[in-house]
């Protein structure tokens, strides 16, 4: 490793601590007073070691590390000590910090969509760092940049060099961010929630890359995350933060297997994991009537169609069929772009399917007159991904929850409605006093409970949940899923649960439908699907789930498959999954696999499911 002038003479010998925080405290001066974001944070990271920093949002994880790099807004006050290879960061001037940032300390941020400068080509952005810190010529810097892209496994690096950030997928952008951070061979890499906004399969790829870099470059790494699964795969030691303080530190195995602090215990207990025995067994529902039937439902969007020029048809959902019995719960899983949310909306006719039928209790929803469909909506409710966005910011919680009653039970007077609202709020575990508040005064979890209360107040018979917890913290996710399970159990409603989180789906759903590029890949009872996935894509999804198990997870990460979903505008011929499938053969390119019965209740679309 090349040494950096700043620390050349002060690097301690031996297994040096690269970074040592001592009693770091961060506070912000705001109009409302001084807000303490972190206090008494003491941590250290050694060379070749990865420290995982976990905690909920607002725990002070990011703030602490942004503080020592001098990246907080001017109203921040930072105290304590932060030694980086012998340099006291908190007393270093802005120039000295600038020389360290990007050179000796690399940083990767959460959102690769917005963390790259939109108007500069990828190659320029990587090369710029080398020109700035290493004083390379632009030509040399570009050559090095291309090597770096290869290093982080960006496909077709020569071509990528000339592309703009918006032309890359989220995963590719995050790789570019990592390449920039690595450009000057830093001693320390700080990754701030590097995988939070990515799909589970891409998450696994990025985490695998980080693990590989740590192993091969021998640099120190800080992985800030709320996901214990990510920590289990990459980190050597873990620090748990809560309310701006470090409450527990230790080796990753110790923390994940035998946590001491009650908070950590709860975190570990709630971490999503795939259990060997499925959480929900399929009830015997042979006698229950089929409530919802989808037959060959397709949804197409036309893109690029303006006044002149031809429109391209984007097939978001392609010939999806399934039946759902009364009281049954179906999970719909897949990566983003798989058409899960589109399917959820098509079921409720919030989007008109371009072909196919949705039949609810014998009524073809697509053929009903608007008025009858509106009346039927009493039975069919939905909760949304973004809990806050799904509530009208100008209405109080009480008004929001009462709205379905105004439509479907207009005979109720105001006091009667008020009573119903109180009851509905209590059922979802909220105090009735919340009725007078506005959505922005609530937390994300509370907002989602309000959304559930609004859906449940008219006693629906089908509840469609569109990624209901993906915007929430892990502990809150668990609470919401538990609430949904309990409501379903009490009221016997049918549930369609759309999620990219297979661990949550396992906890809630009896059957699971796997979608890829809008096509059905596999439909099976949860128990058999999780125990023995038939479709290679289902396997990839399952193996990408980050398990909070430091014994298993590093090896699972190492097996992460490369590749990203192709553009839905231009899907591959034959089996759409073949471009990523490790088992693809010639026939996969030529023919679309049939949707076959695979014993029991299982169905699968794969040419080779029998042999694999």
């Amino acid at each position: 490793m090349r040494s950096i002038p700043v620390n050349a003479e002060v690097t301690p010998q031996g297994p040096a601590q690269v970074l040592r925080l001592c009693g770091l405290a961060v506070s912000f001066t705001t109009p409302a007073g001084v807000v303490c974001a972190a206090s008494d944070v003491s941590l250290q990271v050694a060379r070749g070691e990865c420290l995982g920093v976990v905690g909920e949002s607002g725990a002070g994880k990011s703030v602490s590390f942004l503080a020592l790099l001098g990246l907080l807004p001017p109203n921040a006050r930072v105290q304590g000590a932060a030694q980086f290879c012998g340099t006291e960061l908190l007393r270093a001037g802005p120039r000295a910090l600038e020389r360290l940032r990007g050179a000796a300390i690399g940083m990767v941020f959460q959102d690769p969509m917005t963390s790259l400068t939109p108007h500069l080509r990828i190659g320029e952005q990587i090369a710029e760092v080398l020109v700035h810190h290493r004083k390379l010529s632009w030509a040399a810097a570009r050559a090095r940049a291309q090597q770096l892209l290869t290093r982080v496994h960006v496909t077709d690096p020569a071509h990528r060099m000339a592309q703009y950030p918006h032309e890359l997928s989220g995963g590719m952008r995050q790789r570019v961010m990592i390449a920039i951070a690595l450009a000057c061979e830093p001693q320390l890499l700080i990754a701030d929630e590097p995988t939070t906004s990515l799909d589970v399969t891409i998450q696994a790829q990025i985490l695998a890359l980080l693990a590989e870099l740590k192993r091969e470059q021998g640099m120190a790494m800080v992985l800030i995350t709320h996901d214990l699964g990510a920590v289990a795969g990459v980190a050597d030691r873990v620090a748990v933060m809560r309310g701006g303080r470090v409450i527990e530190t230790g080796a990753v195995a110790a923390i994940l297997n035998a946590p001491h602090d009650p908070y950590t215990q709860a975190l570990v207990r709630n971490a999503p994991r795939l259990t060997a025995s499925a959480g929900v067994t399929q009830a015997a529902r042979g006698q229950e009537a089929v409530a919802l039937t989808l037959t060959d439902v397709s949804v197409e969007f036309s893109v690029g169609a303006r006044w002149f020029g031809r429109a391209a048809a984007l097939s978001a959902v392609n010939a999806v069929s399934f039946e759902l019995r009364a009281g049954e719960s179906l999970g719909v899983v897949g990566e983003s772009g798989a058409g899960k949310s589109t399917l959820a909306r098509a079921v409720l006719q919030l989007l008109k399917p371009s072909s196919g039928r949705v039949v609810w209790m014998g009524a073809a929803l697509g053929e009903l007159p608007a008025g009858e469909l509106r009346a039927l909506r009493r039975d069919l409710q939905i909760i949304f991904q973004d809990p806050l966005a799904s509530l009208d910011p100008r209405r109080t919680v009480g008004e929001i929850v009462a709205e379905p009653l105004r439509v479907h039970a207009p005979e109720l007077d105001a006091p009667a409605r008020g009573l119903e609202v109180d009851a509905a709020l209590r059922r979802v575990g909220l105090p009735a006093t919340l009725a007078g508040r506005y959505p922005h005064e609530l937390s994300g979890g509370e907002c989602q409970r309000v959304g559930i209360a609004r859906a449940m107040i008219v006693k629906p018979r089908l509840l469609v949940c569109d990624e209901p917890v993906s915007a929430l913290d892990t502990p809150t996710q668990q609470q919401i899923v538990t609430l949904l399970a309990q409501l379903q159990c009490e009221s016997g409603l049918s549930l369609v649960f759309v999620s990219h989180n297979l661990a949550l789906v396992q906890r809630l759903c009896e059957r699971v439908l796997v979608l890829y590029l809008g096509r059905m890949m596999e439909l099976a009872p949860a128990q058999s699907l999780y125990a023995r996935p038939l479709h290679p894509y289902t396997r990839e999804l399952l193996s990408a789930v980050p398990l909070p198990d430091p014994q298993l997870q590093p090896a699972r990460l190492a097996r992460a498959l490369p590749g990203e979903p192709p553009s839905p505008l231009n899907p591959p011929s034959g089996c759409v999954y073949r471009t990523r499938c490790p088992h693809a053969v010639a026939v996969c390119q030529q023919r679309v696999p049939a949707w076959e019965l695979a014993g029991g209740d299982r169905q699968v679309a794969c040419h080779r499911w029998r042999e694999l």
Binding site: R101, G102, A103, F109, T114, L116, T117, V129, H132
Partner: protein
Amino acid sequence: MLRYALRRLGGLIPTLLVIVTVSFCIVRLAPGGPFDQEQTLTPAVRANLDHLYGLDQPLAAQYLHYLGGLLHGDFGPSLSQRDFTVTELIGQGLPVSITVGLLAILLALVIGIPAGIAAATWRNQGADHGLTLFAALAVALPSFVTGPLFALVFGLALHWLPVAGWERGAPRYLVLPVLTLALPVAAYLARLTRASLLEVLRSPWIRSARARGLGGTRVLWRHALRPALLPAVSYLGPALAYVVTGSLVVETVFGLPGTGRYLVQGAIDRDYPLVMGMIVVYGALLLLFNLIADLLYGWLDPRVRHE
């Protein structure tokens, strides 16, 4: 890029046709005619005049005839200044109007954008407050107030500059009209640039650029400036419209031989070909300018490049 520009240029033709059609309708459907004010005309003479200019034909025929003329660059004869064709009249005035207008826009860009950048860089300091206050005032001042005031102060009171005249575009005669037109545009540009630069400086990619150790100057010029200029570029089209409007006033106040007077007087005189000619010429200019602004926008922001 060139093909895209050419295609967009071709796309302007239908819009221009719509402009011609709509304005033809508005102009011709209004009550009154070009020779109403000349009360000495006998009916026979009037009929002759109407016949001479084709005004006795059905409107549709006149419209087609007018379009045919336009294809050859012929705007027809002026009805009020009967010794001249509209092409000649506009040809005389247009260079004056365009010189003043473009100089004003250039001046506004040269003053406004750097001022906005400076204000954002030294946010909440004296210079920023002073500039913000000045811009708030300048934006509120219409050209028909500043024009006479400038003439009063710099011309009549201080005798620095001539109050009116053109003298083939001698710089001394250009200063006050250009300044009058440029001032509010510059102030608006400064405000736009300041606000958008402040917003861009708050974006995640700026933090990320700083996390790479890039210095403040480099971050500002390389990473922040281009996206921060987008609102200013979008404003170029409206700015030209503003300048064209203002030139009506400025040309009156400073006695410039531009095209502005043709429009008002032409409309009052019901000089159909002259009014139509003005609308077509300025409509085409505005469309062209908007197209340039669009292309510039695409250059600044790769996300909107090529449709």
